[in-house]
Amino acid sequence: MKLYNISLQSIRRKKAKTFFLLTGLMLSVSSVVMLFIVSKNVNSNVASLLDEFGANIIITPKSDELSFNYAGISVNSTTYELYELKNDDIDKIRTIKNSKNISLIAPKLFVLEEINDKKIIIAGIDMKEELRLKKWWKIYGKIPSSDNEILFGSKAMEKLSVRLKDTIQVANHNFIIAGILEETGSQDDAVIFMPIKIVQQIFNKKDKISLIEVAALCYDCPIEEIVRQTSKVLPNANVTPIKQTIESKMTAVHRFEHFSFGISAVILIISMLIVFTNVNASVSERTKEIGIFQAVGFRRTHIMKIILLEVLIVSLFAGLLGFILGIIGSKFIVPLLTMDDIIKINYEFGLIFFSVGFSLLVGLLAGIYPAFRATQLDPTTAFRAL
């Protein structure tokens, strides 16, 4: 028989007390595990939703010659470009290490064209990607779906005095105005949007791209890293992060994380109180037993070991069971919070160490004072109880 045998027997034979301590601690651990998993998954969910809400990286060719601005970024004049972006640069971006963090790539080719004696910007775009990128766009009519359909900004429409479903000629090709963009208050209002491959074709700019907008969010790694990796694969391009956009996205993403940390801290305190109350009451009830330990020659450290071992053994099991319960619970809670039935839950099995560690820490912190109190118990008090 060793001291741990005494602790084990106490746990084994005091079933009700052990059950309450174990359950209290297990529920605390499982709540923290659930919060962790839910926070991680909700963050991921929010991040991917935010990814699709505006670009946060703009890629432009390297050149000193500037001709006009788009979205606050100077776009090089095609006439004087020293370097150019090309279609295959999009594929190169997909090869970076953090490509999984890139949610969309929206290339654009800008051309200054004269239509009906008025100069206007024509933007060749990948319609599908652009619509994902600019969720705030509202289109009257329909989204252009064929090569001869185009989308007009509201100011461009006024400038050229055209209407929905009119046919206009651009570079000797006829196009139908399939949709009109509701006023956005941005440069988009003054632009005519066409499929990029058509712009490349009719303006004889095969494979050329003026700029690329990228929506990427790496909520668990710095955006600068994605910029660095992209610059590496596109040495002739300026890769610029839009800090303000990134920071507002990160703030939104981390808000739930902060909330989770706050709740976890509250749970930590509550669970410590549960353990403390339980163990402290147990020590008071065990005055007689502690008196016996003293009478048979146990030192104070021996008594402290017995009490702490009991708490730590229960904490260990509470940590393991809490982890399992947390995993099961999160299976139900994550889909509810993300409102997505088919969301894939990311589990981190390092969490098992966190769960056990958390539980042991709570047990140790909350159990140390009652255990110490047991050692300070006046034997006379114990013997009066005897």
């Binding site: 028989m1 001291l3 027997q9 009478a295 104070r300 021996h302 006379t380 013997f383 005897l386």
Partner: protein, 240 residues
């Protein structure tokens, strides 16, 4: 020098504004192999004296010297070690750990000793045989009768082979037949050379002791020699 020397021992408690003397200037020598009966009314201080003697209850003043060790000059750790080596406690109501089996209760003091599991089992088995409980070693305490529980408590007190046995009302909850069998065990231990101090209010048990000390209000009021037929000479020093 006597085996146990109690010098001017005082233990006072504060009850509200009043001081109560549980033990009041007691001096006493106990020799090795004495069998001492401590008598007295409830509240006379006999149990307090016993716990002080066992190193569990620090006196307000005075000294206890056991085998030339000044007990209350030791620190807490040394006093625990002293108890383990010198003292075997036996209490009224048996005071066993309810969640441990008979065997585990007896083994309890060995949990901090340097014995292997096999050695522990051997020691405990021989002791349980001695108190006639070897066949009930795996039982829980609440499955035993009062007499059996007290025998377990005696076996536990014996397990470290201490030199002194301190028993506080060991027969308090037992019938007279069982009480006599417990007293016979103490006599056997005394015959083996152990020093026995028993607190009791039952004067019938005087026949088992070679010394009788009576306390009242924390003071020794009577200290008799053993019956002459026991042919053992003991010294008593009373500082009264």
């Amino acid at each position: 020098m006597s085996f146990i020397e109690i010098k001017n021992l005082v233990k006072e408690y504060q009850t509200g504004t009043e001081k109560v003397y549980a033990v009041n200037d007691v001096s006493l020598n106990i020799e090795e192999n004495d069998f001492v009966m401590l008598f007295g009314q409830s509240g006379s201080g006999k149990s307090t004296l016993l716990t002080i003697l066992g190193g569990l209850n620090k006196p307000t003043s005075g000294e206890i010297i056991v085998d030339e060790i000044n007990l209350y000059k030791l620190n807490s750790k040394q006093r625990s070690d002293f108890r383990r080596e010198y003292i075997g406690f036996i209490f009224q109501n048996f005071q066993l750990i309810p969640y441990l089996t008979v065997e585990e209760n007896v083994m309890l003091p060995l949990a901090i000793a340097e014995y292997t599991k096999t050695e522990q089992k051997e020691i405990v088995f021989s002791l349980l045989t001695k108190v006639k409980l070897a066949d009930k070693s795996k039982r829980l305490i609440n499955e035993l009768s009062g007499g059996e529980q007290q025998r377990v408590a005696i076996a536990r007190a014996l397990v470290n082979d201490p030199l002194i046995f301190l028993a506080d009302e060991p027969t308090g909850d037992l019938d007279s037949k069982t009480s006599n069998s417990i007293m016979n065990i103490f006599t056997e231990l005394n015959n083996e050379g152990k020093t026995i101090v028993v607190v009791t209010h039952n004067k019938e048990f005087i026949k088992y002791a070679n010394r009788r000390i009576e306390l009242s209000d924390g003071k020794i009021i009577k200290a008799d020699y053993m019956p002459i037929e026991m042919e053992i000479v003991h010294s008593i020093h009373l500082n009264e």
